[in-house]
Structures are given as C-alpha cells and as structure tokens.
Amino acid sequence: MNAQLEVRNVTKRFGGVVANHDVSLSIPARSIVGLIGPNGSGKTTLFNCIVGYHPIDSGSIRFAGRELSQLPVPQVARLGILRTFQQTRVYRRMTALQNMQISERRARDSLAALFARVPAAVDDEAGSLLEFVGLHGQRFVRAEELSFGQQKLLELAMALMNHPSMLLLDEPTAGISPTLINVLIDRLQRVNLDLGITLFVIEHNMRVIMRLARHIYCLAHGELLASGSPEAIRNDSRVIDAYLGAT
C-alpha cells in the first residue's frame, strides 16, 4: 500500500468521552481525501491527534514511514505535514507579508542567521504565493484587518510557504461566500496537481467535498462509519442516517 499517512486503530479519550474510537484510515500520496461526518463526530480531534496536538490513547499514526504519535507538534510540522484551523489562525498583528515570511520552512536556524535580514528569495516566493491566493494587494495590511475570507486564503498561503508534502485542511470553506469557495476549490486543485501536495480535507459542504475528493471517509460518534468514492458515500444510507439523525 502506497499510503503517505497511515492511521491505525487510533483511540482518543477525554475523561469519560471517547472522541475517536479505533479509527483507521490511509491517505495515498498526492491524493485528495475527504473527511465528513456530523458535528461532534471527532473529525477535528482526529486532525489534532495526527499532528500531535493531543497524545493518543492507543493506535499508531505513520507518516511516510515515521511514527508520529510520540512526537511534539513542531517536530511533526517539520516532517512536512501541516494543518489549518477551523477558526482560521493567522498572526493577527503582523502584516500578510510578514505572516508569509515567518512561515518559511527553515531546517535549522543558526545563531548567525538571527541577524540576517529576510532573504529576497523568500520575499519573492511570499509575493507570488500571495498573488496565487489573490492577496498580493493586501500584503502590507495587518492580518487582523483582513476579512474572514481573506484570512482563510492567507492561512492557506502560509501553509504553502512552508512546503508541506501533506495538508490537513479543517473546513476550508466554512463561512465564506460562494464566489470565494469556487476560487478556493480551484486553488486547492492546483495545489494538489501542480505542487503534488496531498490534501486531507474536513468538510461540511457536500458540494465542495464531492467535487474535490477522490475518496471520502465518514466519521460518526467517533468511529469510522463508511469509506469510499464520492458517489458511494453520497448514496450510503448509513451516512445519510448519521447526518439526519444527528442533533
């Protein structure tokens, strides 16, 4: 199996609540995979576990052959697997350009590098990525003054700046206008095709995820309910019940 990310029997408990129970899935390299499920089914928790934000109670998470579950968050990120946040987190008091500059991936920061200015190459890449998401004109605007949609785009651009091999996107189209959703879908497809970045996407917008993903996993009550192609999932009665039955 050519899986880039292999999640096996992951269980995560918070006190008495089981957020993820025995979840297993695998993400092939360069694919776009969706993760759906009603609210509270444990999708974001799974993301958190994968990137090391929570320690897991049992199971294994392997990325490109390496076990992730024991690693701290910064180390997981440096392996090339990044995530975006449901509430969209950017560095609010810094400008869009500065947000991009600090997102550059550095293997190791030497002490001498502390005194160096940001290299022109970094600035150039930041500029072109901002252009890619349509924020080049706002590069000197403070992140907190961007609109919500713009911040989402900035968060994506920052992730790309870091040269990840895999991106975990948590509800990338939540709360933005339909026009912008189409822009975002287009960008994500280009990111996947041209840059070869694997995308694992949590989504509530069925139209979006059916268009984007080639394979979809569905969680309900912390367990894996169904898995398959978009058509299969769309017609799966268990999935439909889970959404209709969820309060």
Partner: protein, 299 residues
Amino acid sequence: MDGLTLLLHAPVLNLQLLVDGVLVGAIFALVAYGMALLWGVMNLINVAQGDFVIIGGYVAFFAVSGGVPPLLAVPCSAAVVALVGWILYRIVIRRVVVGELFTSILATYGIGIVLQQLANQLFGSDVRTVESGLGSVSLLDGMLTVARIKVLAFLGTGLLGAALVWFMRRSRLGQAIRATAQNARAARVLGVDTDCVYAATFAINGAICGAAGALVAMTWIVQPYAGLSYTVRSFMVVVAAGLGNLAGIVAVGGGLGIAENYAGFLLGTEYQSAFVFSLLVVVLVLRNQLLLRQRQYLK
C-alpha cells in the same frame, strides 16, 4: 545539618513545627480562598492580595493601640479592608477587569505598589506586632508550646471559612456570585448585575484579607513590604490545589505552613522567605511539566 539531627533526636520538635505550621497554614488557606474567589469569579489575579492583608494588619495594630480589644480588631480590619476593596473596585478594577488579563495583573500590581509605599510613608518601615495578651499553653511537660492566640486564629479562620462557604451556597448574593463565575454572560441575561457582583466579590475578598491581616498581626508581624509573600503563598496554594477545590486549598495551605516552618528551622529564618519564593517557582514549573506530558500547559 544541626537542625536535621535535632529533629531526628527530638521528635517533639517535629510536633511543634507541625502544630505551628498547621495553625499558620490555616491563615494561608483563608487568603488563598479569597484569591481563588477573585480568580474564579472575575478572572482577576490580585497581585495586591498580600498587601490587603498587611493593611488589615495595620488596622488591627492601630485599633488595638487605640484601645479596641484584640479579638474585636478582627471584624474591624475586615470591615475597613472590605471598604478599601470596594472603593478600589469602583475607581480602578472595574476598568481593567474587562480587558486583557495582563492589564488587570499590572493594575493590581500597581495597587500593591501604592499600598506598600503608602504604608511605608505613613507607618514607617518598622515591623509591628499586636500583643493579644493571651499567652501560651505549655503541653507535654513544657516540650510543646502553643500560643493561645494561634489556636484562636485557627478556630477563627475555620469559622470564617465555614461562614463563607455557607454564604456562597445559601445567600442570594452568594448564588449570584457563583452564577457569574460559571458564566458571566448568562448571568447577565438572567438579570444579575455583574458589576454589582464583582464589586461585592472584591469587597468580600477585602474582608477576608482584612480578617487574615488582623490575625497575622497578632500571631506574627506586619511590615509594609511583607505583602508580596502572602500574595505568592496564596497563588501557590491556588495553583497547586486547583481553582474550585476548597478541600485542596485547605490541605495545601496547611502543608505550606508546615513546609515553611521546617524550612525556617532548617535553613534559618533569613532564608525562610527565599524558600517560599523558590518553592513558588518549583511548584509552577513542576505543575506545568506534568501537564506538558499530556501536551497541555497551565492556562
């Protein structure tokens, strides 16, 4: 160490330290309860908590010098510091309680500075103490000495604590305070005047500190700059015990009193203060490290 061998050869010395520790620890627990109250209800860390205690101590000192019977000085101090607290809330605290936590910490720190410098300017930097005139009790053939005032302070603290708990559970204001602590917005929607609740909470904390201060003046000493150590002690107790954990606060307070007594005995009194502040750092770092194992940290 001489102290250590002494402790091992004379077990009754341990008893003395334990008893004194528990008696003073009760006062620590009381002040910590006040700090937890402010923290839980208003999300305010009162860096001037210890300075309120010291002010209470001074009130008791001057009351007793003025002829008030020592035991009556306790409610006197409580009332005065409650008033001071209420006034401070109206002019300073209510403006910062809604903002960043750091601003409110700085504000209370500033209040502490003002109180310290005022005390220093008005009362001088000399150490003061209040003679309760109650003497000590000799137990176990004179091996164990217990000051009567310390026992009374212990009982008084217990009574005060019990009264507070009863107040919080049964009275209208107490319930309003608890509701606000749980969810200020919801409480407001239900008609609770949060500003009033905050003012009352701050005043109640003042009363707690005032009473504790009077007891401190009688069992120990007051000095303009002694406040910070009480602030640090209460913070330590609250962090170690956890915000809502009343039994924990009592237990940790007692434990701290005992630990301090041992430290004072083994390291010498001049290092007792260093012990308290170093312990604070150790407690914070260790508590945090334990949480880091769960990929969390002290919030």
